[in-house]
């Protein structure tokens, strides 16, 4: 029949792990934000895939909300980036380490 659900899941897994790897190993705050978007897309793919499998629209509805949150997150994240850059003159994530004992 149509595309098997496993395919969606595998693709999603790929994107998610790549996104996670990006979050974990990149120093640049922008790339980290990009990677987060990637991970969210992975989630979206899953949702859409299952929506197709279960033959309902709940998954698709959820994707809409995810996107909303992603948009908000991107806006806030970028605002933070701006503020941080203004204060610290850097965007390398490992430079921000005041939160320790």
């Amino acid at each position: 029949m149509a595309i098997p659900i496993e395919w969606y899941l595998v693709l999603s897994a790929f994107l998610f792990v790549i996104g996670a790897a990006g979050v974990l190993m990149r120093r640049n705050l922008f790339i980290v934000l990009f990677s987060i978007e990637l991970m969210m897309n992975a989630v979206n793919i899953n949702l859409v895939g299952f929506s197709r499998l279960h033959e309902n629209l709940i998954g698709q509805n959820f994707v809409l909300f995810t996107m909303t949150v992603a948009a908000a997150e991107a806006a806030i994240g970028l605002a933070i980036v701006t503020a941080l850059y203004r204060n610290r003159r850097t965007l390398m994530v490992d430079m921000f380490d005041v939160m320790k004992g």
Binding site: L24, D94, F96, M99, G101
Partner: protein
């Protein structure tokens, strides 16, 4: 009696409170009036009590209120008047009144005048509580309170470190004795279920307790008596107690407080009579102390210290008497000793007063003419102490020795006899060195020598008269007025001991002659040493027995021994406990636990880098581990 009896101790108590609170600002130099009047009133009341109890079979008990009422432990504040306490009352209030009057003159210029009289009144109150109490706990109360007063009065010149530490030494040594006394009281309660004298003695008679328990009780009580009455090995505090003003030495450390131990043993005569071993210990300790202290008295140069050792020695005599069951003789000696020893102390106080505070006999001499009243009264006291017939001390001492001999205590008798010799020797050594021969005084002091004021001389004369004639209370020996009066108190104990009534016989007469001869020879040797050839004999004797002499001079090194062992051990041990155990081990463990967490924190805190990505990696690894675990298992 219901009102009279409580008033006897209450009057000095009131005097104490009033003097203490008003003395500094109001009474000042007239602080002596209230205590003297109170004491005299107590004396009058005591006489009334004495007359009331004369010939009575049973004691009069007046209960004021329950002191400690807990379950079957019911201790009242109650007074018991019987012949024994009546005698003690008379001694305490009588001698007390005289000494109060004497103090007026003696302490006249002291800045702590009111304080002195306040303490004296408190002492009188405590001593009266001690002798009047109707149970062991009240006895204990009085016991501790007199100890407290003694502490205060010894340390009266508190700015002198030696006085302060002498006071402390007295209190602590007494505490060691009281440790035994206290446990003895507990044992009495646990054994008999009561602390009341009358009930306890009744139960002893009915053999409620085994002899072993009675022995334990007796020994424990005697430990207390040893502390208070300065018996070996707890005698060390009394000579140091001479740091106090002389009236204090006379009242507390000669006439009354130190005899409390004798009173206590006599009071517990029933218990001791039922535990012969305890009596043996009492007698042995008494005899040993008598000769031991007398030997030290030989070599002392401080006039008051000689007296102090003499007191210890005489107290030893009293315990010798108690040890053989001669209760009355002990109390008799207590009374005569109160007379003549108070006299001797007051007399030497008068000497010291005349010499502006000089106490060293080597710096006296030839005083007989300059202060005749003091000399003659002191002479009467010395004769009494030495046991020369017919002065007071002779009758009581001879009775003690005689009873020991007849009771089979030959060793104790012999020891007592030797001690009597030494006593006569050092007593007259004192007299000769002080009053006879050449003057060895500082010229500066000599200029100011004067007879003491009347307030001091009158008590001396009264006591002098008592020392001369007081002995006839106990005449004929073992059958005098005194003995008849006290008979009801010791009736129970004598019954237990199966004492038979003696009449004065040939043996008694021989013993009397022997002891008079011994005493006279003591006087003679003293004369030989210190009047005839004062420049060679003492030195020669000292040289011949060099180590012995040195040991005597240093009081047999008992103080040094205590310092090196018990005190050192306690203080060092305590310091070890504090530094090593408390601060080191226990607190170290506590702080160690704290430090452990600190170290743990230091070890773990590097993991908290403050970098979010590090945390994310750890999360990721955690996720990985979980997923792996899920797959594998």
């Amino acid at each position: 009696m219901n009102y009279v009896l409580p008033l006897i101790p209450a009057l000095p108590l009131v005097a104490f409170v009033v003097t203490l609170f008003l003395g500094k600002w109001w009474l000042k130099d007239s602080a002596h009036w209230i205590p003297i009047v109170a004491m005299a009133a107590s004396f009058v009341l005591s006489v009334a009590a004495f007359l009331a109890i004369r010939g009575e079979e049973h004691a009069i008990v007046v209960e004021l209120w329950r002191w400690i009422p807990v379950g079957d432990f019911q201790v009242p504040i109650a007074f018991q008047l019987d012949q024994l306490s009546a005698v003690m009352l008379l001694v305490v209030t009588g001698v007390g009144t005289l000494i109060f009057i004497y103090s007026k003159g003696y302490m006249h210029h002291d800045p702590g005048y009111y304080r002195f009289f306040a303490y004296l009144s408190l002492f009188a109150f405590s001593m009266l509580m001690l002798v009047l109490g109707s149970n062991y706990l009240l006895l204990y109360l009085g016991w501790e309170l007199v100890g407290l007063c003694s502490y205060y009065l010894i340390g009266f010149y508190y700015h002198k470190p030696s006085a302060a530490s002498a006071g402390k030494k007295a209190f602590l040594t007494n505490r060691v004795g009281d440790f035994g006394f206290g446990i003895g009281v507990m044992l009495i309660f646990v054994t008999f279920g009561t602390l009341d004298y009358i009930e306890v003695f009744e139960k002893v008679e009915h053999h409620v307790a085994s002899e072993g328990v009675l022995l334990a009780i007796g020994l424990l009580l005697f430990l207390g008596a040893m502390g208070k009455s300065a018996q070996f090995p707890l005698h060390v505090w009394l000579p140091d107690a001479m740091e106090g003003p002389t009236p204090v030495s006379a009242l507390i450390h000669a006439a009354t407080m130190v005899t409390a131990g004798v009173y206590m043993v006599a009071r517990s005569s029933v218990i001791f009579a039922s535990a012969p071993t305890a009596m043996l210990v009492v007698g042995a300790v008494g005899a040993f102390t008598a000769i031991f202290a007398a030997s030290i008295g030989l070599a002392q140069n401080d006039i008051k210290r000689v007296m102090a050792y003499s007191t210890v020695s005489q107290l030893g005599y009293m315990f010798m008497a108690l040890g053989i069951g001669a209760w009355v003789a002990a109390i008799f000696h207590l009374v005569t000793h109160a007379f003549f020893k108070a006299l001797l102390f007051l007399g030497s106080g008068s000497v010291i007063h005349s010499l502006s505070g000089e106490q060293d006999m080597r710096k006296m001499g030839g005083l007989a003419k300059k202060i005749p009243f003091t000399y003659w009264t002191l002479m009467a006291g010395a004769l009494a102490l030495s046991g020369i017939v017919p002065f007071a001390g002779f009758w009581s001492k001879d009775e003690i020795l005689g009873m020991n001999f007849k009771g089979g205590g030959y060793v104790i008798w012999a020891v007592g006899l030797i001690a009597a010799f030494i006593t006569a020797f050092y007593t007259f050594r004192l007299i000769f060195m002080t009053f006879w021969g050449e003057s060895r005084m500082d010229p500066e002091v000599e200029k100011h020598v004067h007879e003491s004021p009347w307030s001091m001389v009158v008590p001396l004369m009264v006591l002098g008269v008592l020392s001369v004639f007081g002995g006839f209370l106990g005449f004929p020996p073992e059958n005098g007025v005194f003995h008849k009066f006290l008979e009801p108190v010791f009736h129970q104990a004598n019954e237990i001991l199966h004492v038979e009534h003696h009449y004065f016989g040939m043996l008694d007469f021989v013993l009397m002659v022997v002891s008079v001869v011994v005493a006279l020879s003591g006087v003679f040797f003293a004369y030989l040493f210190y009047v005839k050839r004062p420049d060679e004999l003492p030195q020669k004797a000292g040289a011949v027995s060099q180590p012995l002499y040195k040991a005597i001079l240093n009081k047999w090194y008992i103080d040094e021994f205590y310092n090196a062992t018990i005190i050192r051990l306690t203080v060092d041990g305590s310091r070890w406990l504090w530094r090593v155990v408390d601060a080191g081990v226990i607190d170290g463990a506590v702080n160690g636990v704290g430090r452990l967490w600190d170290i743990a924190g230091r070890v773990v805190s590097p993991f908290q880098t403050g970098r979010v990505q590090n945390y994310a990696v750890v999360m990721f690894i955690g996720l990985f581990v979980i997923v792996t675990a899920v797959i594998v298992f």
